[in-house]
């Protein structure tokens, strides 16, 4: 039977007007929440500066793409789809939740603008949103509680499992959905003839309650409202305490995220290179040495585990898990800056405290973690900053001290003589005499060879192939020769910033003395260093782009593949692919060879390419690992059906060749460089 709707604002129980209670709850909830937010913001104010306020259009675009359109979520399809549903439901229902707060102490309330048509559409949308949301919540709870995907696991040494927290939050969301729909259903029961939208939760409740007496429905409605109100504010105050802080901070984290990969932050954003000597301390040694954005990253982690799932160091069981860099960082931050009580004082060094030295040295800076994170959390800058702190204290693994010292003394990590750096040009052939700066030659293009390609017997073949290709493509180029020093790409990423700067300054001088109009690199690490770490003001291009241009213009004419039975696959080097977005040019170069059969390593190519083990100083570091990254990669190639791995990086090549031997695949798998492949397939 019909009943007059009992608005929570007009209910009275035990002589107390409910509207007082429903006014108190939001006020108290908001007060607690604001207090928590102030506490959470405080450490950000004590942290190092980070200029992230420019390029607003680019930042807004990232917010639209990553935050609103949830662009990265589908990379893990099931979890991603469910999260997208949950996220959009949250956005839609957020408005309803706001309205509901006011309905506790005002008989009627609609949000401004939601009076007429829009409001009507919204009411439909919200009921379906709530229903879909509940479905996702159930599925998500099933995933967390029953399926228990690997990437959510917490190793025993790192604390308790996080499933409990996840299920609690899902339970709270479910409670909000159910209570809101119940409240809606009770309200509809008071308006006969008005039905709920078919298939929605409210509709289900409406039918369940069909026979209930009016009085009961009225009180049920108020009860549902009370549950919603309490749960809402409890949930709100739970957010800053754990991984669901991302509900609030993710928007900001994405807005402030890095705009371009491949860069490394300066030692301190507010200190110029010339003033670095005046700094008391380098790098990150304690929490407050991080920038405010890095601390915001710690807050924003949703504990999804995707970063660690993709991390090659984690896959080979090195002691590094990016997820736990963040989770441990957050735990430390919460401990030092609690929500109640005084801030912690006293020293708390990070490395030797929450982090271990091996953990920090294990990273190859491949960028898979940053590529994957749906919230824009950054890792590489943090690792580099932590390394800078370790280097300053002399805590560098012995295996790295030798190559660093060699680079300092001889400009290359093997300590080989400077005068032998250009010895490879003797083997170029093809009637080509390579111009060198030492000889006083001049040319508009400068080929920056870097140490690996110059000195390593095997990699000199890449330099020679590159030179021949450049010659055929009609590129007039020179190399620096003896004056070239190591680009310092890994020197910087391993935290020896001042040695890097000295290399950068020497190389910059040598390069500018030649006044080139363009620089060509075959080594992606050199390419990235010259493009992002140096400020040359000269465009830098990778040889694969030149090959692509040469093929398109007809200057490079490929001939049919030597062995059509072989199956080729292309391995994307980290510093060409993820860090610089160069995925297509090498593929085009390979595909231009008639009759060549190429396959992709499905799910593990382009921005999901698995790091080969790392370049530069990574070759010297001796990690504790269950197996080499290269071995995993070669196995992926074999699984894709390939017997030749083509790569465009001398470090990838050496790691692949070593891995083929270690994996016992000699004779069944071969690694070849892109330039070698193309050079070997050019018509005379």
């Amino acid at each position: 039977m019909p009943f007059a709707f009992l608005s929570p604002a007009s209910a009275v129980y035990l002589g107390v007007p409910a509207r007082l209670v429903f006014l108190l709850i939001p006020l108290a909830g908001a007060a607690v929440f604001i207090h928590m937010m102030i506490r959470r913001v405080r450490p950000l104010l004590a942290a190092a500066p980070d200029p992230r306020f420019g390029d607003v259009p680019a930042r807004l675009w990232l917010v639209l793409k990553l935050w609103l359109a949830q662009w990265r979520q589908p990379r893990y399809f099931v979890a991603g789809a469910l999260h997208i549903l949950l996220f959009f439901a949250f956005l839609v229902l957020g408005l309803r939740s706001t309205q509901l707060v006011f309905l506790g102490f005002m008989e009627t309330f609609t949000l401004p603008g939601f009076g007429g048509e829009l409001g009507a559409c919204y009411n439909v949308a919200k009921d379906y949103a709530a229903t879909v949301c509940l479905l996702s919540v159930v599925l998500l709870a099933w995933r967390r509680g029953v399926v228990k995907p690997e990437r959510y696991k917490v190793p025993a040494a790192l604390g308790k499992d996080h499933t409990g927290e996840a299920l609690l939050v899902l339970g709270l969301i479910g409670t909000l959905l159910v209570s809101e729909s119940l409240f809606e259903a009770c309200g509809l029961a008071a308006a006969p003839g008005e039905g709920a939208w078919a298939g929605t939760l409210a509709w289900a409740f409406r039918h369940l309650l069909a026979g209930c007496p009016g009085g009961f429905l009225g009180h049920l409605g108020v009860a549902a409202y009370a549950v919603h109100d309490l749960t809402f504010f409890y949930f709100l105050c739970l957010l800053p305490r754990g991984k669901h802080f991302h509900v609030i901070t993710s928007l900001f984290n994405v807005f402030f995220m890095r705009l371009e990969p491949g860069h490394v932050k300066p030692v301190r954003h507010d200190v110029r290179d010339a003033d670095l000597d005046k700094l008391e301390t380098f790098g990150v040694k304690k929490l407050e040495d991080f920038t405010w954005k890095h601390l915001l990253d710690f807050y924003s982690c949703a504990d999804c585990g995707r970063c660690s799932d993709q991390c090659p160091a984690n896959r080979v069981k090195r002691p590094l898990s990016p997820r736990f860099i963040t989770i441990k960082g957050r735990g430390h931050l919460f401990e030092r800056y609690p929500l109640a009580g005084p801030q912690a004082t006293g020293p708390a060094p990070l490395v030797g405290g929450i982090y271990s030295e091996d953990e920090i040295w294990s990273c190859t800076t491949c960028g898979a973690c940053e590529e994957e994170c749906p919230i824009g959390i950054e890792y590489i800058d943090k690792i580099v900053d932590l390394r800078r702190g370790l280097v300053e204290e002399g805590r560098v693994p012995p295996s790295l001290q030798k190559p660093l010292s060699s680079i300092e003394k001889r400009g290359n990590p093997w300590g080989k003589l400077e005068k032998k750096r250009a010895d490879w040009i003797a083997g170029v052939g093809d009637g080509l005499k390579v111009k060198t700066a030492d000889a006083g030659d001049a040319a508009p293009d400068l080929y920056f060879v870097d140490s690996m390609t110059s000195y390593d017997d095997r990699m000199q073949k890449i330099a020679q192939a590159t030179a021949r290709i450049l010659g055929r493509a009609g590129v007039d180029f020179l190399i620096l020769g003896k004056a070239e020093k190591d680009s310092g790409h890994e020197v910087r990423r391993y935290g020896e910033e001042m040695l890097f700067q000295s290399l950068r300054d020497e190389n910059t001088q040598a390069i500018l003395d030649c006044a080139p109009s363009r620089i060509v690199a075959s080594d992606p690490h050199a390419y990235n260093a010259l493009k992002h770490d140096y400020e040359l003001g000269v465009p830098v291009t990778h040889v694969s782009e030149l090959i692509q241009a040469g093929l398109r213009s007809g200057k490079l004419r490929p001939k049919p593949v030597a062995d059509p039975t072989r199956v080729y696959t292309y391995h994307d080097p980290c510093y060409l692919g993820r860090h610089n977005g160069l995925y297509e040019a090498p593929r085009e170069a390979i595909d231009a060879i008639p009759g060549l059969k190429r396959v992709e390593m499905a799910g593990a190519c382009r921005d999901r390419s698995l790091c080969c083990g790392g370049g530069g100083l990574n070759l010297f570091y001796e990690p504790e690992e269950a197996q080499r990254m290269g071995v995993l990669r070669v196995a992926q190639a074999a699984q894709a059906g390939a017997n030749v791995i083509v790569t465009a990086c001398p470090f990838c090549l050496t790691n692949m060749e070593d891995a083929i031997k270690v994996a016992g695949l000699e004779g069944r798998m071969e690694a070849v460089d892109l330039c070698e492949l193309v050079d070997g397939h050019l018509q005379a």
């Binding site: 670095l276 000597d277 380098f282 280097v391 300053e392 204290e393 002399g394 805590r395 560098v396 012995p398 790295l400 001290q401 030798k402 660093l404 010292s405 060699s406 300092e408 003394k409 001889r410 300590g415 003589l417 005068k419 020896e496 910033e497 001042m498 040695l499 000295s502």
Partner: protein, 262 residues
């Protein structure tokens, strides 16, 4: 504890291609990069760790010219509190005993409890530490790979053949020559070196050390290098073949023939 560590600037063993020089009495020294002698570096690290444990000072001393100063500065960047340079034309060409005499004079100017040297340097002579101890009349132990203790008496470990280890006690003051592997020396970065770039390093010459001009240089050397060469390659090893019995029998015959068996 007041510790004096003697360091030497030597051609870097791994970053150079060593060949015999034109004069035939030395290696070719053009295009060489130099570094602190590796054993000395371990000694400085050890001294710093001892002082971190028990308090005191580490002084690093080097003989040589102004170029040797770069090595002293690097060790100070590592953490040694003081540097000292011993520079005089009269020191040129000193042999091992001459070097030890100069270091003895420097040691007597301070009040050191412990003097460390590297077990050997680029010549491989491994003699300066022992000679220095003898001149000072202090106890000496070589090839030390472990140091424990504070004032009065130290407990030291020495590395012997076949990986065996000897543990001894030695009274202070003493001289110890340090073997590689005693610790893991910390890294010294460019920043650290720049931080000590303008620190004052006192320089003492022969007069300040109370040494007569001709007493320690090349002219006074009691050992002179005559020649420096890579021996001519011989025919190579003779390889015996056959079963174990046959090999043993051939060996016995050869040993009898060459007088190895009586």
């Amino acid at each position: 504890m007041e510790i004096l560590v003697c360091v030497k600037r030597v051609p870097d063993a791994t970053e150079n291609e060593i060949s015999v020089g034109p004069g035939g009495t030395d290696i070719s020294r053009e295009d060489l990069v130099y570094a602190v002698n590796e054993w000395d570096n371990y000694a400085v690290e050890e001294a710093i760790q001892i002082v971190d444990r028990v308090g005191g000072n580490v002084t690093v001393v080097a003989l040589g010219d102004s170029e040797a100063e770069e090595v002293v500065r690097r060790e100070m960047a590592m953490g040694a509190g003081q540097g000292l340079m011993l520079v005089d034309d009269a020191f040129r060409g000193a042999d091992g005993l001459g070097v030890a005499t100069i270091l003895e004079a420097a040691a007597r100017k301070g009040a050191y409890d412990l003097i460390l040297t590297g077990a050997q340097a680029d010549d491989g002579a491994a003699q300066v530490g022992g000679m220095l101890a003898a001149l000072l009349d202090w106890p000496y132990a070589s090839l030390v790979n472990k140091i424990e203790g504070e004032a009065g008496t130290l407990r030291i470990g020495r590395e012997l053949e076949g990986g065996t280890q000897e543990l001894s006690e030695i009274d202070l003051p003493c001289v110890l020559s340090i073997q590689t592997g005693i610790n893991e020396p910390r890294y010294v970065g460019i920043r650290g070196i720049r931080k000590v770039a303008s620190v004052e390093i006192p320089v003492l010459d022969a007069a300040a050390l109370g040494l007569a001009a001709g007493a320690v240089g090349g002219a006074a050397a009691k050992a002179r290098r005559l020649d420096y060469f890579i021996p001519a390659a011989g025919a190579g090893a003779e390889m015996l073949t056959g079963s174990t019995r046959e090999l043993a029998s051939q060996l016995v015959d050869l040993l009898k023939l060459k007088g190895g068996l009586h």
